[in-house]
Symmetry: D3
Subunit: 135 residues, 6 copies
Amino acid sequence: MATTKLLSDAEVENIPAVKAVFDDIRATRKSDFVNNFWRGLANDPVSLKRIWAQLKVVMVADSAIDPLTKEMIYIAVSTANGCSYCVHSHTAAARAKGMTEAQHGELVSIIGLAGQTNHLVTAMQIPVDPQFEVK
Amino acid sequence: MATTKLLSDAEVENIPAVKAVFDDIRATRKSDFVNNFWRGLANDPVSLKRIWAQLKVVMVADSAIDPLTKEMIYIAVSTANGCSYCVHSHTAAARAKGMTEAQHGELVSIIGLAGQTNHLVTAMQIPVDPQFEVK
Amino acid sequence: MATTKLLSDAEVENIPAVKAVFDDIRATRKSDFVNNFWRGLANDPVSLKRIWAQLKVVMVADSAIDPLTKEMIYIAVSTANGCSYCVHSHTAAARAKGMTEAQHGELVSIIGLAGQTNHLVTAMQIPVDPQFEVK
Amino acid sequence: MATTKLLSDAEVENIPAVKAVFDDIRATRKSDFVNNFWRGLANDPVSLKRIWAQLKVVMVADSAIDPLTKEMIYIAVSTANGCSYCVHSHTAAARAKGMTEAQHGELVSIIGLAGQTNHLVTAMQIPVDPQFEVK
Amino acid sequence: MATTKLLSDAEVENIPAVKAVFDDIRATRKSDFVNNFWRGLANDPVSLKRIWAQLKVVMVADSAIDPLTKEMIYIAVSTANGCSYCVHSHTAAARAKGMTEAQHGELVSIIGLAGQTNHLVTAMQIPVDPQFEVK
Amino acid sequence: MATTKLLSDAEVENIPAVKAVFDDIRATRKSDFVNNFWRGLANDPVSLKRIWAQLKVVMVADSAIDPLTKEMIYIAVSTANGCSYCVHSHTAAARAKGMTEAQHGELVSIIGLAGQTNHLVTAMQIPVDPQFEVK
């Protein structure tokens, strides 16, 4: 259960600012499926438009990091932040972009190892080596 | 300042179990530099050996994810966990493995965007779409 | 499912120390509803009393921050900590204290933006400007 | 020490896209001071522009939540996320917008109490009461 | 719902590397029950073996910290990280190792208090006293 | 640098409500040392008194968990929350209560392992086994 309503397609039909974003999500993704995140954000059409615009720039546009790697980075952040929905949605997105089961297994291992060494470092309060400084 | 001693090379010289790991770190990385994380862990030689063995398997061995991507995933987790030392050390490692400034800029942007949507999802408590389920 | 029992009103009836707190919760809130959080804490009557006493001091007493703002701050912390129950309960409380949908939308936006810039700052490890120091 | 360079005013002088944002930050804030966050983001002019544009919409524009409350919410998120820089910069911003020492003391108390009850709830895994559901 | 399959005993029967670990889990714990965590990890037999080997060394082997205290420390970390599954599984494990309801109540109180003072410290950005330094 | 003043003994001399708490801290701990946390909280005498009273109940009073174990649990939470000050102060407290270097090494290992399995579980979104439910 959400703390806001999740707008249905019927409800969106009457809010042109939301309808325009949903249409663009569908066109960009070449799929009729609009997931719950956008249906929650749709309560605030200005935010909806802003967040979708950012996602297109950061995640969809051509860039120096390939689309699958972007999704794996997203899963990593979402896991460390404990966002269940985000882990689910971006794992599905990564698979849709070709992530193999072997890659998923490795991704999970890297995230786990980073979780471990992050905790070890923090428990020991290790100071940053001067060699890591950016001059 | 750490909550444990950081062992110097002179101190390690007298602890064969630690010396062996430090030698392997140097041989594996083809560098004389052993960073503070290992010097803190060296207080517990059994842990030191276990953690280094894992790091070799997960981060160094040939695998389905390339070495630079692995480092970027590590940075992502470390950032979300707020581990300053880890962000520093793995950003240095990623640069050593060829991360360009353009890639770093994009990595930072993806991490930032994931941080934002993680918070939006959690604030709205969005339920997982059935489409994201693994059958 | 909880990791402790959630005490029912019938069970509480036989534990005077718990009954007294539940009575005060009902009187203070002018409502018969006692939510699950207190039913879990009731396994430890001393803690129950201590936590409720604090909540009255910090959240209910007259003060320099108005009641609705307090709830919005609580939602912000609970979201960043990923506490689903807390986000639900304090969003309901904020609405009961008059939070409009427009305010909720903005609150969600601020939380999301803070999540983003928090991650950007940590990924870049930005040092604190001397201008922010308290003299 | 940052993991990226912090661009000085002299360096920014030669990057028109960055210069334009810095000029707008100065004009909007009616202050010559541009804090380190923007100097780090300036390595990626497109991100710099995008993040500043968002901040103006969410934090500066007229809205249903007053400017001081916005800053207190920002401090709450930044504290829970453990972002030292962000706690410093937004506490300074809140004071600049009129936060009294009494309000700061209460804000700290609310954040602390939320941190406590968030942990209590998670340790006990309290299930969400149906009464908190949005219909 | 998981983001990976949870392997059943029938499926594991055909994967000797997984079967061997499951057999060892059962023998070590003197119980036929293999919980879902291992069934998810079983998708990556190498990880499964590595993680189980670590758990045996850290949690099962004789050591300077008694088994119940270890489980309480595990619950503390899992709570602060918001890992619902982990809080459930290690609370069950702690009870199986003799944790009384009084001890559980106190554990929850300590975790809650630590959550509170962690947030207070971070909100006030308290600097480390030199007295806490390890010489 | 803190976001509030840290009150010196000279300043506290003129604030009876704070002086009384500082005196009790010194008497309880049998030490003249009052660490920075209390000097920051002293800006808000009511909070100072409330937090110290709680700490005495939860951490100092006789109870079902021994004092050293309490400190180790505190370190575990503080590490997972990334509270550097808290890790430092409670590691010092644990050593003062007799924590050996072997115990500290194990504590760090348990925290690290919990960090790893917490991340593995969250990345795989493992559902809670019915066996872990409290009836």
